[in-house]
Symmetry: D2
Subunit: 365 residues, 4 copies
């Protein structure tokens, strides 16, 4: 029942604070014999890492991953392979700027976990948010890269893609949706025009010290029917937990999501035909999950990320001693943390699917 | 890692199919010494049970609960008390109408789990949906009633209330919100006027064999700050999993939910003042959870329930053998399953909070 | 982390007290499509059930099992088959003799859990020991019968047998060991001569109100190499937990067991040759487990059951109020609880192996 | 259900191979606010580390522990304190002697996990045994040192001590038992005279390339009544799993252990009197556990460690390709691995007790 672990069979545990010496993840239950090189993980980390555009925190972290266990390169093999034993990955922190933390040490920043950590634990590591920092998501991305290798090994062509589909109140135009675009703009946005608008808006927000929220959509294609399980081990229940556990997430949707409430039964039913000898759904309101089990359609999950709580405008707050005061957050922050949530959401999708692929194989062969 | 269990320390396992002899739940980890009478559970079950209005399924089930283990009435005590050992609750099914299931046996009903169960397990109990039936939620409600007793014992005045806040595209008016109303209409709706409109609309839908989706809001008041834990054991991550595991749920929100994406950082920050010697938040965009830990504010969760998939209008589908056909669902179904989701959502909230109350006491004293 | 569950993937949860209305078990994670009839389970229960000889408790319990969920008999199938959803089994208690429990209500019986339950929970269900009664093992045997069906389905010819190998200080002669004998005497003893001696001794003990301990040996043949996992999921670690969790067990051994300490490295090494194209071990000091993983040899586990604590000779004790007194246990008790431990040990072996067979398939294919 | 994790609430996960870059442990669920300095852990590791006498492997490892997360030193506190978030401990491997492993790469060493790892995973990290190496126990000892700090914080005067009580067939004399002796001889033996005999015998075994098994006894004093839980979460079931998971262990006993089988009910009953206002047991056949719950007496566990499998005498074996051959293990090995099992057993006792102390507080307050 550990708090910092996720997954049932492909189970990982993350550790580390924003300003500690390092952070990392231990993955247990990985199948053996899968080629896993540091660069497989590094590529994923590089996508997420800070400092890559003016829209994400300017903290400079090389985020170089070390594989400390769980792989072995036999002189007869074509690369290091997973051994089936725990894979320990570590990323050392480098740029823990030695600043004066006295301000946030004593004041609770609204929207942050400062107050609740103190309420729970009696004190907290206030440097950069400690364990509540989004820096933890580097460990998820690293684990997700391993999961992607396992998925490819187990299921062949599963393809996980993610796009920011809304920034602030500005939503993409689905007619412009093109997965080819996501690597071409700093928002991982599949709508090139939206990305242009957002760049302008976010630049303004950044300069004024404000921030925007976002919605991320993650789509997994090529997932076979049959993954997931009733009733608390539902694929969508695990996805909901996975996405909601990401920093700053306040809502999770599968398929039609909250909009499903507004549909009639006729509109919501994804009708089925045969195509090329296989079941073919005429729509995907279900987001690829029925009764908690994958249907073979695209798995579609969305989540809302609240606007960065660290803003320049002073906000009313209190100190740990209960004195009323105000706080203004300076420092190197993302004006839209949702941007960095894109690879994190994709990683969580990969991790949930890998787990369920192994579970399904275990129970049903 | 069992699929049909939920919770870490206050852990329950449900079992049973729609048309089997019975369904039930085993609760493990319950604190000892709490008075628990069958009527404590029965009252909760009666709220949820079918046949109570024309808007819910006309299946007649007394839903009488039996406590089979885990309580003991000493001749010196004032009622049966929990012993700290597993509490087994059973509800016998009565009205499994012996109908001809040959239609749905071979056809996959769109929106139902028929196809995915077959894809996963190779065959399925097709009678009334088997394990995928919403009848399983009776076990959740029973377990939730026990959780409420534990919460009262541990935390005193925690108050969990739930309201339907949207039916189809029709949303309540927050200005009309009055918790006193929820027991007065068949929708558990806190806006009496909305309930009137919905009654009319749903009656029409029922007659035409159509169905509506809904949004349910669950609010827990009086929860102390400090429940929950980083980072995969977050209170909101567990709530997301809990709510998404309910039948037909497609989206889960905490606080501002999906709308958080549209806010600026200034709007989203819940500022803090002191009031009566305690921290007092000026708004609750966070829904009472920061960094995965309760803040002492109301815990606010919402979830969207898709429209009932069983409708009279024929829908295109296929048979288990891959033949194209169509299906029309007759039978005793709810035109808006969201209605019965209200007590289920409240039960899941109680179960998650109880679990975290015990976990917090275990780790932090 | 539930206290009353066992297993990782093939996970079962037992519930029930000695004198409650019923006891039972819920099995989660069972593979689908396995024919499971009540009589498959009943046969196993009948072996364990009380009242079958003068050496076991004279409590009369039919121990009739009901399958409440998790199986479905399609009109096209050749019997009820597991559906992959939770299997709920219930056994109703019949002969809860309405006796006066005032004696043990207030006095702590030495060797029983009376004192510790009170110390932990503040009070206890004192009727027949409540949850601490060996009656719980009926649920294990029922679950074990399901596990045996799964093992046969997954691994083919796995054969689990158990024998009492010691009663009191009297040990069997290995030269007389013949599995054919175990069904022929009330001790499930593979040495017919030892069984004769024991019958005489135990009859004397029974008459004098005394009791004997025992050692049980459980052997699983036909288990393929590769089940188990480093380092806390070792097959032998799980077996140790499984056997030690049985009532009254004080020691568990794998292979050479405690005697391994007295061996030299030369004696302990199980040398390997080839035979019929497969590895062939020349001895089995390891008991079929190396590094926590099965080697393909027989899995050999032994456990010691302490003598029944319920004896006629008065023993010094205290009351719940801390008064010194003495207690003499009357009632229907087994003079050697080890006898009924034989089918229970075999059941636990089947349950552990089934779990690991599924886990291995999940991780390694 | 991870394989490399142990514990329910105080849960730790170990990782690392004998000849990888490092090994370590992540502890989740630790209470906050406990002062934890690297030297608290280092002291424990130094006791276990290789190279400290001629009776343990001459591999030179400083075993220096690094605390990578989970503690924070506020400028106002008197030392680094646990924060309640995961504690990550790492020990870098230094002396992975670059030897030629071609011999054991292809041959299965009898008594080792070489064959079973290959059978399970298809290949293995053969350098020093990889994950199956006793080097993993350094991570247990590190975690155990944290557990001891928590126990002191939670329960005050719990005192965990361990002694080797048998080497080969030579058992200590209980009349000589003196805990003061254990730090004075290289065997951690409470009987000084036995230690002298063993030194002579083991020296001879070492020179001849042979090895001895051992029995270790671990005793925890000051444990309050009430820790543990029925029926699969029994304190003794968890201890059995904990001890059996240690490398080379083949048997585990609680209290009278396997000898309990030879006792009569009268002999086995630990009678109870009052002393200084508290229950006082007149004997401890139960080893401090009744019904899976601690009784307040000393918790007494014993385990048998088989003789080191790496011996100079050639043993018959096969190669990975199925050719018959023989193997002789050279290298830096312990002639009695049981010696280093002493601090490991004590660590596992501390870990199990800490877990149950938190669990008990969670469930029962």
């Amino acid at each position: 029942m550990s708090f910092n672990s996720f997954g049932r069979m492909f189970r990982f545990t993350t550790w580390g604070e924003s300003h500690g010496p390092a952070l990392g993840v231990v993955i247990d239950g990985c199948p053996p014999g899968i080629v896993l090189r540091p660069e497989d993980i590094q590529t994923a980390l590089d996508k997420r890492k800070p400092g890559t555009s003016k829209f994400v925190t300017q903290r400079k972290e090389p985020d170089e991953v070390k594989i400390l266990s769980g792989v072995f390169e036999d002189e007869r093999s074509d690369g290091p392979r997973t051994t089936g034993t725990p894979i320990s990955l570590m990323i050392e922190n480098q740029d823990q700027r030695s600043k004066d933390y006295s301000d946030i040490r004593d004041k609770y920043r609204p929207g942050h976990a400062d107050f609740t950590y103190d309420a729970k634990y009696g004190f907290r590591d206030y440097r950069g948010g400690g364990r509540s920092s989004a820096r933890e998501t580097a460990a998820r991305v690293a684990a997700g890269a391993v999961a992607e290798k396992v998925l490819a090994h187990l299921l062949g062509g599963v393809w996980i893609r993610a796009s920011m589909v809304q920034m602030g109140p500005d939503t993409i135009d689905r007619d412009n949706f093109d997965w080819m675009e996501v690597e071409k703009n700093p928002f991982w946005c599949a709508d090139a025009k939206a990305a242009e608008r957002w760049a302008e808006k976010l630049d303004a927000a950044r300069k004024s010290g404000s921030s925007y929220g976002a919605v991320i959509e993650v789509v997994a294609s090529g997932v076979p029917a049959g993954l997931g399980a009733p009733v608390y081990g539902k694929l969508d229940a695990d996805l909901a937990s996975a996405m909601m556990s990401i920093n700053a997430v306040k809502g999770v949707e599968i398929g039609a999501g909250m909009e499903a409430a507004a549909l009639t039964g006729e509109e919501n039913a994804d009708e089925i035909r045969m195509k090329d000898g296989a079941p073919h759904f005429l729509s995907n309101k279900a987001g690829g999950v029925l009764g908690g089990i994958s249907s073979g359609q695209d798995i579609v999950a969305r989540f809302a990320v609240k606007p960065t709580s660290s803003i320049l405008t002073p906000r009313k707050t209190i100190t740990a001693k209960g004195e009323e005061t105000s706080v203004q957050t300076k420092g190197r922050h993302d004006p839209c943390v949702g941007i960095r949530g894109v690879p994190v959401g994709a990683a969580m999708m990969a991790l949930v699917l890998t787990d369920h692929a192994l579970l399904h194989r275990g129970q049903c062969g």
